[in-house]
Structure formats: structure tokens, C-alpha cells
């Protein structure tokens, strides 16, 4: 009797146990057609409650390290630049895109003249300098490494700022369109110093009212905001509801109007449900498997040789990648609601090029293992997060890789412990991902560059390093696009980071709320949101 392949057996089991609804073929079920906004006219007034997946950390742009804090900042702290719904950089508190001169070493820009912080202080070049200097020099600033190419910040006019860089760094614009571009009130900084998070004050459509840790952050419409006429809601409340099912239950009951970062299962279960609308945008990030190929003594040390078949021979890594079926992973683990991926540059941004993912090829994988001369099954300990999704992902990878001759053992590890082990080099492989940035350098440089601060597997390749420098040094879009195409090929050639899928940012919302906007970064903007005219 013919044996049923292990992959199919696991696939069938998972399909039976993880989904209540019927699975559709990959691609067909993916809610990939982006829906970024809803333009029905709204009335003034009311409070909208947004359910967040996790509790934000410090509401301090210099010290925060969570994406969820940035979600809150979209309502109360504007940035120098932002990304629009087509992933183009647009000025926000800056009045224009920066003039990049001196071979990418000087950024000059002006700031808005009509903006005031929620505590009444005026936005000007000096205020921007104060914030950027704080990002650079405050003890423990998470922004310092992001903008460490900045040598000096100068207010060269009342509303004109000039950044002098240590080396060419065109992707800096992308970081100024992220947390590093958030500007704080100099008055609040003087008053509260490193305790700014207790009384955050910025330029934004809403201002901070209060925070109950673990529960909610309350914001109220800021009458001083330069664009206050477009703001309809009186209040916005961010409420932490970690479980996706409970977030959805709260939307259904009307206690919450918007659910952030909804999971594939909840989204699929609520599709077509009366009273609930769905918005979505492809993520700029990726998820996949990082293999430890050189992290022997810790992430901050020089790369070494990891003495495992995976560390020694690229053919073993390639064989492992060839054993995986991205389409099937998407179907089994994420109900077909995400998108297969095989590179760090997200599609849909001006610097991306089309990339075709290699298909699963078990025969070739086996041949590569034979050529590498390794004894099968090749053992691999895969560290996974302690979430149901990661557990399913690990099981599917385990089953698929077994067909090609790998013995994958899963090691579920809670986040803080996993992070410590990863940074120390105490891992063979781990599942994980990257939130993503609109400039591809943000998805590459620190993650696979030899000197990268987040190069967990300590991949070190001269060609990758050369292309990383090339990508930073020119602002010509066509040239940069070509660099990132070559860079993607160079990274994939090493098979040390196996890009598997790209999440889609799903936002579920009550149907009577309109004007919610998602941008390419997946963050929810409620500046112009409100209750639909004629609704409650």
C-alpha cells in the first residue's frame, strides 16, 4: 500500500482541526485586494474605541520599541514625513520633501509654519532640532541607531532644518517617515524630561488625556491642531484586547468600533457578516525562518562558523528552502489570507521589482543533501513563538522538511526568552518576522548586513554588504530599484533568511464608522474618521 506523504497527512489534519470554514485554493481566498479607506460622509462628534492587539509601551517617541505605540502616535504625534496609500513619502510636519545634496550627505527641509503642539508651543526649526537631538542623544533612545548617520542637526532658519550626515544615507528619509521622525513639544520636554511618556505632547489631531495601563489610552480632539476642521470625532480611545476572538466579540457587541491587527481566522469567520466592514493593506514586512549561520558569540560580536550542516554548507540551507511550499503554508496556517513571499522588498513600493518564488522541489532538495554529503535526516531545532499560529507554522514546516530528509524539532519559546537566546546566538533556526519599512533599506541593512544590529543569524557576505552601501548612496529611483533587485538575489543565494510569507494588515470595523484610513505601513489613521451620517 502506498504511504500517504507526511506533509499531506499533516495538511489534512490541520485543515480539519484549524478551520471551521472551507478552505479555498491559495490565492483565491486571499483578501489581497487592498481596501485602504471608506469615504462615506461622516458627522461630527462621538467617541471611537480602537481595540489594540497589545499594550503600547512608553508613549515617548525616543524610547518606544513597539509598533502598537506608533499606532497610537498616528492620532497624537505627527512625523516629519509620512507614507501615503501608495507608499510614497509625503511631508507631514515638514513642509516639503528634503533636498538631498552633497552626494546624499545633506538633508535640508522646511517645517510647517501653522502647527502648534497640544500644550500651545509652536512648531519651528528649533523644536525639530530639540526632538532630533533627543532621539540621537537621550540615554536608551531606540532611535539613536536608526538615525546614527546624522552627525549634526542645525536650525538654519526659523523654519528650516539641515541634517549633516557622516556618510551618504538616502534611506534616512524612510526613517524620518517612521518613529524617528516623530516630533515632541520642546515645552513638554523641558518640563518632563525623560518622563515625557507621562504627559506626552505633540502636534496631532488628538491630544493625550489619560492612560490606564493595560486597559486604555484616551485622547481628545485637539483644538490647536492645524487641520482641526477635518477632525470629526470628539474622542478616541485605544483599548488593549490581546485576544483576536475577544476583539471581534467586542466589535460585534458595539463596545469597540475598530479592531487592529486582526488575525486570519477571525477575519475569515467575520467575512460578509452584517454590521462589520473589513479594511486591509499588504504589509511592508515579511515573516520567515532565520537560520543561524554565523552567530556564535552573540549578535554584537563578529560572525563565526556555526558548526552544523546548516552553518557549514549553503546546499543544506537551499535544500531546506526547497522542501517548503509557501502556497501550502499560507493555505494551511493562515487560511490563505496572507501572501507567499520570497524577498525582503515588499511589492507595491516604488523601489520593488517582481520576484518569482521558487516552487517546492523535494527531489532537488534530496539531491542537494546528497551532494553536500550530510547524513540524513539532518537535525534542526526550530525555535517558534508560543502562539497557535506559530505552532501550526512549525508543524507544517516540520512535516514538509521531513519529506526532503530533515528532522525538525520544534522548540516553543516565549518572546523574551527567545529574544535573549537569539541575540546570544543560542539557536539554530527561528521563525519570526519584520514589521517592515517603506524604504527597502529598512528591511535589509540591519538584518542581513555584516554589521547589522539585527542580523540574528550573522549572515556575512561581501556582495550583500557592497550592495547595501550602493543602495544608500544614490537617490535615483531607477538605480536604487536595480540595486535592490540585485540585493534580493544576493540574499536569496545565501538561503540564510528564508522569506515565507507577507502578512496582510487586516482591520475590522463597525459598519457605522467611516473615514478610517490605512496607509502602506498598515497603521490605522482616524484623523478624518467619524460616525456615518444618519447612524447612531
Amino acid at each position: 500500500m502506498r504511504r500517504i506523504p507526511a506533509t499531506l497527512a499533516v495538511a489534512a489534519l490541520l485543515a480539519a482541526t484549524t478551520a471551521c470554514s472551507t478552505l479555498s485554493p491559495p490565492g483565491e481566498a486571499t483578501a489581497a485586494k487592498a481596501r485602504l479607506t471608506d469615504l462615506r460622509p461622516v458627522r461630527d462628534g462621538g467617541t471611537v474605541t480602537i481595540g489594540l492587539k497589545s499594550d503600547p509601551d512608553m508613549l515617548d517617541p525616543s524610547l518606544t520599541s513597539t509598533l502598537v505605540a506608533r499606532t497610537v502616535f498616528t492620532s497624537m504625534c505627527e512625523q516629519l514625513y509620512d507614507v501615503d496609500q501608495h507608499n510614497h513619502f509625503v511631508p507631514q510636519l515638514a513642509a516639503s520633501l528634503p533636498k538631498i545634496t552633497n552626494g546624499g550627505r545633506t538633508f535640508t527641509f522646511t517645517v510647517r509654519k501653522d502647527a502648534r503642539f497640544s500644550d500651545g508651543a509652536r512648531l519651528d526649526a528649533a523644536a525639530v532640532k530639540t526632538s532630533l537631538d533627543r532621539h540621537l542623544h537621550l540615554r536608551g533612545s531606540g532611535r539613536a541607531s536608526e538615525i546614527d548617520s546624522v552627525d549634526k542637526v542645525a536650525a538654519i532658519g526659523p523654519y528650516t532644518v539641515q541634517l549633516s550626515l557622516k556618510h551618504p544615507d538616502v534611506p534616512l528619509l524612510g526613517r524620518l517617515a517612521n518613529t524617528a521622525g516623530l516630533i515632541m513639544s520642546p515645552k513638554a520636554l523641558r518640563q518632563y524630561g525623560s518622563k515625557f511618556a507621562t504627559h506626552p505632547s505633540c502636534v496631532g489631531p488628538f491630544k493625550y488625556v489619560k492612560r490606564v495601563v493595560g486597559d486604555r489610552i484616551e485622547l481628545a480632539k485637539d483644538p490647536l491642531y492645524y487641520d482641526a476642521d477635518k477632525v470629526h470625532l470628539d474622542r478616541v480611545i485605544y483599548k488593549t484586547i490581546t485576544d483576536g476572538n475577544i476583539r471581534m466579540a467586542n466589535i460585534r457587541s458595539g463596545d469597540v468600533q475598530i479592531g487592529d491587527q486582526m488575525g486570519p481566522v477571525e477575519v475569515r469567520n467575520s467575512m460578509g457578516e452584517k454590521g462589520i466592514q473589513l479594511l486591509n493593506t499588504p504589509s511592508l514586512g515579511y515573516m520567515g525562518v532565520t537560520l543561524n549561520v554565523g552567530n556564535v558569540h552573540g549578535i554584537d560580536q563578529k560572525p563565526g562558523t556555526v558548526d552544523t550542516p546548516f552553518g557549514r554548507d549553503v546546499r543544506v540551507r537551499q535544500a531546506f528552502e526547497l522542501s517548503l511550499d509557501r502556497e501550502l503554508i499560507n493555505k494551511l496556517v493562515f487560511q490563505g489570507m496572507y501572501e507567499p513571499a520570497c524577498g525582503p522588498v515588499p511589492p507595491g513600493i516604488p523601489l520593488s521589482s517582481p520576484v518569482s518564488c521558487p516552487g517546492r522541489d523535494v527531489a532537488k532538495a534530496k539531491k542537494l543533501l546528497e551532494q553536500a554529503g550530510v547524513k540524513t535526516p539532518v537535525p534542526l531545532e526550530l525555535m517558534i513563538n508560543t502562539t497557535p499560529e506559530d505552532s501550526r507554522l512549525g508543524q507544517v514546516i516540520q512535516a514538509m522538511a521531513a519529506d526532503a530528509g530533515f528532522d525538525v524539532r520544534l522548540r516553543p519559546t516565549e518572546f523574551a526568552t527567545g529574544l535573549t537566546r537569539t541575540l546570544a546566538g543560542d539557536f539554530q533556526a527561528r521563525t519570526g518576522g519584520w514589521g517592515g519599512q517603506p524604504d527597502p533599506a529598512g528591511n535589509i541593512d540591519s538584518l542581513v548586513g555584516t554589521a547589522g544590529s539585527n542580523n540574528q543569524g550573522k549572515l556575512s557576505d561581501p556582495e550583500i554588504d557592497r550592495l547595501i552601501v550602493a543602495g544608500r548612496s544614490t537617490s535615483d529611483v531607477a538605480k536604487r530599484r536595480a540595486v535592490y533587485r540585485d540585493l534580493t538575489a544576493a540574499i536569496n543565494k545565501q538561503h540564510a533568511v528564508i522569506y515565507l510569507y507577507r502578512p496582510i494588515n487586516y482591520v475590522s470595523a463597525s459598519d457605522d464608522v467611516s473615514g478610517i484610513k490605512l496607509s502602506g505601513d498598515g497603521l490605522i489613521r482616524v484623523k478624518e474618521a467619524g460616525y456615518v451620517k444618519g447612524s447612531r
Partner: protein
């Protein structure tokens, strides 16, 4: 009378002294336990996008480079003055977060306890009095369900039934009783049912067993022989003696109520101790974990103290200090 007062004073002082020693031991255990957890605070806080400079700054900011004894001494001496430190995750004072969360969990636990007493004692007495009758089977069946059903599942089912299908109660959130009593209860009834159901089942079974025992005892037989009304026999004689067992069980289970609130608070999104603890543990927020555990331990110790004192109130045969 004087002797009794001296006995009482000595008993109370001894129990309070023992409680303080317990608190010190708890603080040391928690302090060492939190630090023995795998995973580094600085790294957990900085996240994946980190750099050695950021890690060093965080360690320095929160005194994580000092040796354990220095850290412990700094912590307890500050705590003695009411300063439980600053949350490394949110940057807010630990005491503020605890004082915001504590009343919510206490209210939840109190409501759950009330529910457990009313339902558990009532059903237990009914099951004992109506032994062998359908009422006993029904009460036993419900008790079995109450002990078996996971809180998370029961919570979701109650939300679906009573907050979505029939929106009588709210699905989540907290409104202080002082702000709006009706809204407060609308939000707290379902969590209290979820939290109290397990305890009610335990109380019911204990009450039933103790009542059956009491109903077969000589003093109840004597009371019946004296011609007392059944209600008096059950209420004044059998139930009062059975309550000693029930109070003991309640005392032991109260600590579980507070820890059980972790799940209930997650389901109903109540910003109580449970949520605070989970977030603090996952981010290795030492100051917050220590603060929360110390307060919980203090509550637990206080409850045990009160239960011990209650013994002498409900059963006059029990004498202070174990003397007859």
C-alpha cells in the same frame, strides 16, 4: 474577661508578626524568582531592533547592573516608603498602576465570592435537605459543570449570549461603581459569574457534605426531638455548624479567586491585576511584577488572617490560640 483580652491581643500580635515575616520571605522569593526567569529585561524592553548602547542605557537606568543584594535592598527600602518603582515598560509609577488595577480585581473577587456564597451555599443546603431527590441531582450536575468548564470558554459563551445575542450586559471594559453603578454592574456581572462559577461549585459540594454530616448528628436529632421547626433546625443548628467548613474552603479558595481573575480579566478586558501581571511578566517588567505579586501576597495573607479570626466568630467552640 481580662484573660480573654490578653489572649486575644497576644494571638493577634503573633499572627500579625507571622504575617510580616511571611511578607518579607515573599518579597525575597519574588525578587529572586523574577530575576531567575529566562529573558533579559533590557532586551525584552528594547525589542528586536536593539543595540548594545540601548541595552546598556536601560540596564543602567533601572539599576540592573548592581548586584542582587543591592537591588533588593534598594527595592525594599523604597517600597517601605511607598515607592514601588517605575514601570520599565510604560514609564509610569508602579503604585499608580496598582492602585488603578486593585479595586477592579477586588470588586470582581468580591462579586464572585458573593455569587459563590449565595449560589453555592443555597444549592448545597438544597442538595443536602433534598437528598436522593431530583433537586440533589440537578445541583450536583451544575456543580460538576461549574468545576469542569474552562473560564475562558464560559466567558466567550456568556459574551455571545448576553452581550451580543441578547445585549443585556456589556462584553468588556470597566466603569467605576462611583461613576455609574448600573453600568458598573452591567460590566461586572458576567465576569463575576465566570470567576465565581468554579468556587460556587466547590462551596456547593462542601456545604452539601457538611450539611449531610450535620443533619445526621446528635444535636440536630435532639433539636428535632424538641419539636423545633425544620427551618430552625436547618438554619440555626445544622447550617451554622456546617459554615465552619465552608468558611475554611472559602478562605483557601479566595487566593485562587485573585489568581483566577487573570483569565477572566483577559476575556472581559478588565484592567485589573491579571492583565497587569501578564503584561509585566511578558516584558520582564521587574518592578511591576514585584509590586503586583507583593500586593497579591499581602491580600492573600490578610484574607487568611481574617478567615482565622472568623473561625472564632462562627464557631464558639474554637478558642483563640488553640486553647480550650
Amino acid at each position: 474577661m481580662m484573660k480573654l483580652r490578653r489572649l486575644l491581643t497576644s494571638y493577634v500580635s503573633r499572627r500579625i508578626g507571622m504575617s510580616l515575616v511571611t511578607m518579607v520571605l515573599v518579597s525575597i522569593t519574588v525578587f529572586l524568582g523574577v530575576r531567575a526567569m529566562p529573558g533579559d529585561t533590557a532586551q525584552a524592553l528594547a525589542g528586536e531592533q536593539t543595540s548594545p548602547a540601548v541595552l546598556a542605557a536601560i540596564r543602567s537606568e533601572y539599576g540592573l547592573n548592581d548586584n542582587i543584594a543591592v537591588q533588593y535592598w534598594r527595592y525594599v527600602s523604597n517600597a517601605a516608603t511607598g515607592d514601588f518603582g517605575t514601570s520599565a515598560r510604560t514609564g509610569l509609577p508602579v503604585l499608580d498602576s496598582i492602585t488603578q488595577a486593585l479595586p477592579i480585581t477586588l470588586e470582581l473577587a468580591a462579586l464572585a465570592l458573593l455569587m459563590a456564597i449565595v449560589v453555592g451555599v443555597g444549592a448545597g443546603v438544597l442538595a443536602a435537605v433534598r437528598r436522593g431527590k431530583p433537586e440533589e441531582w440537578i445541583a450536583n450536575g451544575i456543580a460538576l459543570l461549574g468545576m469542569s468548564v474552562p473560564a475562558f470558554w464560559l466567558g466567550i459563551v456568556l459574551v455571545l449570549a448576553f452581550a451580543i445575542a441578547m445585549p443585556v450586559f456589556a462584553a468588556s471594559g470597566f466603569v467605576p461603581f462611583g461613576t455609574d453603578p448600573v453600568e458598573n454592574l452591567r460590566r461586572m456581572v458576567l465576569p463575576a459569574i465566570v470567576l465565581g462559577s468554579g468556587l460556587a461549585a466547590v462551596v456547593m459540594r462542601q456545604t452539601r457534605a457538611a450539611m449531610i454530616d450535620a443533619m445526621q448528628s446528635d444535636y440536630v436529632r435532639t433539636a428535632r426531638a424538641k419539636g423545633l421547626a425544620p427551618r430552625t433546625v436547618i438554619g440555626r443548628h445544622a447550617l451554622r455548624n456546617s459554615l465552619v467548613t465552608v468558611v475554611t474552603v472559602l478562605g483557601l479558595q479566595l487566593g485562587l479567586l485573585i489568581s483566577g481573575a487573570v483569565v477572566t480579566e483577559q476575556v472581559f478586558v478588565l484592567p485589573g491585576f491579571g492583565k497587569l501581571t501578564i503584561d509585566a511578566v511578558f516584558t520582564r517588567d521587574y518592578a511591576m511584577v514585584q509590586g503586583v505579586v507583593l500586593f497579591t501576597s499581602a491580600a492573600y495573607i490578610l484574607i487568611n488572617l481574617l478567615v482565622d479570626f472568623l473561625y472564632s466568630v462562627v464557631d464558639p467552640r474554637i478558642r483563640l490560640g488553640g486553647s480550650q
